[in-house]
């Protein structure tokens, strides 16, 4: 019962694991919060509901990273094999940080702010450490 979950990072991640990108919506003013927030930043109300997002959006900002985080180096990325991280603006309005897949990270000049993207879910880790990461890829 998605609608009964608390509006926490744990719930958001569990939903990602189910292939759902969900935001919290303020029942009073309608503001969407992604990642979910339990108190509305707009009107300070604490009456929220879960809402599912279509997972369609456009690239709002990006970078291709050659000197990566340790976890990314462990995935095989590095100076000769950069990866792309971006901020995606969803059709519903909110923006979120995500891995950007299926792009040529060695030629960042070819990537454009505004390019259309669709959500993807990236599984990492095993067993207890299994986690679903939010990702997007070109349409």
């Amino acid at each position: 019962m998605v609608s009964q979950k608390e509006f926490t990072d744990a719930a958001f991640n569990q939903l990602l694991g189910e292939g759902k990108l969900m935001a919290s919506r303020c029942k009073k003013c309608g503001a969407l919060h992604l990642p979910p927030k339990p108190i509305c930043v707009n009107c300070q109300e604490g009456n929220m509901e879960w809402t599912i997002l279509k997972g369609k959006g456009k690239l709002a900002a990006f970078t291709t990273i050659a000197v990566g985080l340790p976890r990314m180096i462990q995935e095989g990325y590095g100076r000769d094999n950069p990866y792309c991280s971006g901020i995606v603006e969803l059709e519903e309005g909110p923006r979120i940080s995500a891995r950007i897949l299926d792009v040529d990270a060695r030629n960042p000049q070819k990537l454009k702010v505004g390019m259309p993207l669709v959500v993807d879910f990236l599984e990492r880790g095993e067993g207890e450490n299994k986690r679903t990461l939010l990702a997007f890829k070109p349409v």
Partner: protein
């Protein structure tokens, strides 16, 4: 944005400042670095200071846990300075840690609690590898939603740069020109980690290639040098090696006193007449990703308190952890309109001999960026410039009576701005 006009209970002045050499020092700890800065501070107080008279310490430090396994650093530093049992507090707001320590010192004097306060910061970064520093500084991002996306600290500024390029038409060359300018200043700063121009670095490489009998690079100027991916590899596109401040060990500190006692320490105090601090969301949640609301809010607060306008300010130290940050910063503090930083850097307006000299110290880019020490090091540069003691890098042809520092934490979730006056 509504900004309340705020007033402090008492005025505050800087009457001493000290900065350690910035660089990579394998045999020095945070304690050693801070003592080096403090020893210079003691020398800088014209009529002297007995450390036993100092009533409190506010210490900025960002990643002491990662670099030295040390939290609770403030009382340890206080112990080395002979300040026990006086209060000592660590402020951690990432790269604005000592900028906020400065603010807390000002507030504490204004409250009436103290007359004499030491504020400063320290960071000992070179104990870690580049990968380790990337991990440690990455803790200043949103650990739940930015680091899982792979963002690094350079990466998040790089993302800001792509939106800035998209919105205002900035090119990679504009970022490069910021680096060239700041190295030109840093070459005149003996404390700077990179105490050399990019042109000299380029010529040094050419000379080295000749000497070794290697193919001689054909760079005709610094821009060509910086466009060569072998000389200037990508860190997080469009930010390349020379767009990024280095990994630095260093410390800095200021002696703050209540305005009414300032003249008993020196005839030329530097008064802090405005302080502002603001907060912002992580980058992905900001309405406009080409500006930092925390900085705009802090600037407006500081200007309102000081009763001055951006056009009144003669010089500023601006937080150039990455070259894009300086462009955004000089817009956020109102020196140039949105997108106007491009023209400013093109026309040399922010050069040392320009209309609005920015980062005469060399900035974080060339001077170095020991993150927790940067805020008070910026103020220490202003202290020197306002007293005409900046040596070879003293701004020419200007008697500096109004100046500003802009110190940003993380990707911009926090910012402290201070305005200084010499009367």
């Amino acid at each position: 944005m509504y900004v309340k006009k705020r007033r402090l209970g008492r005025g505050v002045a800087i009457v001493g400042a000290g900065v350690s050499k910035f660089g990579s020092f394998s045999d020095k700890t945070s304690r050693d670095l801070f003592i080096e800065a403090f020893n210079e501070l003691k020398q800088s107080v014209d009529r002297g200071i007995d450390p036993k008279d100092i009533e409190a310490l506010y210490l900025g430090n960002h990643i002491g846990e990662y670099c030295e396994g040390q939290s609770l650093m403030a009382p340890i530093i206080a112990g080395y300075l002979g300040m026990i049992p006086k209060p000592a507090t660590r402020v951690e707001n990432a790269c604005v840690s000592s900028g906020v320590a400065l603010r807390e010192g000002i507030i504490a004097i204004a409250s009436g609690l103290y007359d004499i306060v030491l504020v400063g910061g320290v960071e000992k970064m070179t104990t870690l590898s580049t990968e380790g520093v990337t991990d440690a500084l990455g803790s200043a991002l949103d650990a739940l939603y930015e680091t899982p996306a792979g963002f690094t600290f350079p990466g998040i500024y790089a993302a800001m740069a792509t939106t800035y390029m998209d919105k205002y038409g900035a090119k990679e060359e504009h970022f490069m020109k910021v680096a060239i300018k700041n190295h030109n200043n840093g070459a005149l700063n003996p404390k700077a980690q990179f105490n050399t121009t990019i042109k000299d670095i380029m010529n040094g490489r050419i000379a080295k290639a000749k000497q070794k009998g290697q193919p001689i690079p054909t760079w005709v100027d610094e821009i060509e040098f910086l466009k060569d991916p072998k000389a200037n590899p990508v860190v997080a596109w469009p930010m390349k090696l020379f767009d990024c401040s280095p990994i630095t060990d260093g410390a800095s500190c200021l002696l703050l006193v209540a305005e009414e006692v300032a003249k008993s320490f020196t005839d030329t105090p530097v008064y802090v007449i405005g302080t502002g601090q603001g907060s912002d969301y992580p980058l992905y949640e900001r309405e406009d990703m080409t500006t930092i609301l925390a900085a705009k809010f802090a600037a407006q607060e500081a200007y309102a308190m000081a009763g001055v306008k951006p056009e009144d300010i003669q010089i500023a130290e601006v937080h150039d952890c990455f070259t894009i940050a300086e462009l955004v910063g000089i817009e956020d503090i109102g020196f140039f309109p949105s997108g106007g930083a491009i023209k400013a850097i093109e026309e040399g307006l922010t050069a040392r001999d320009g209309a609005k000299p920015i980062n005469t110290s060399g900035g974080l880019k060339s001077k170095g960026h020991p993150v927790g020490a940067t805020g008070t090091a910026q103020a220490a540069e202003i202290w020197l410039q306002m007293r005409g003691q900046a040596g070879a890098r003293q701004v020419p042809g200007k008697d500096i009576s109004l100046a500003l520092t802009h110190n940003v934490g993380g990707s911009g979730p926090t910012c402290a701005i201070h305005i200084y006056e010499r009367r």
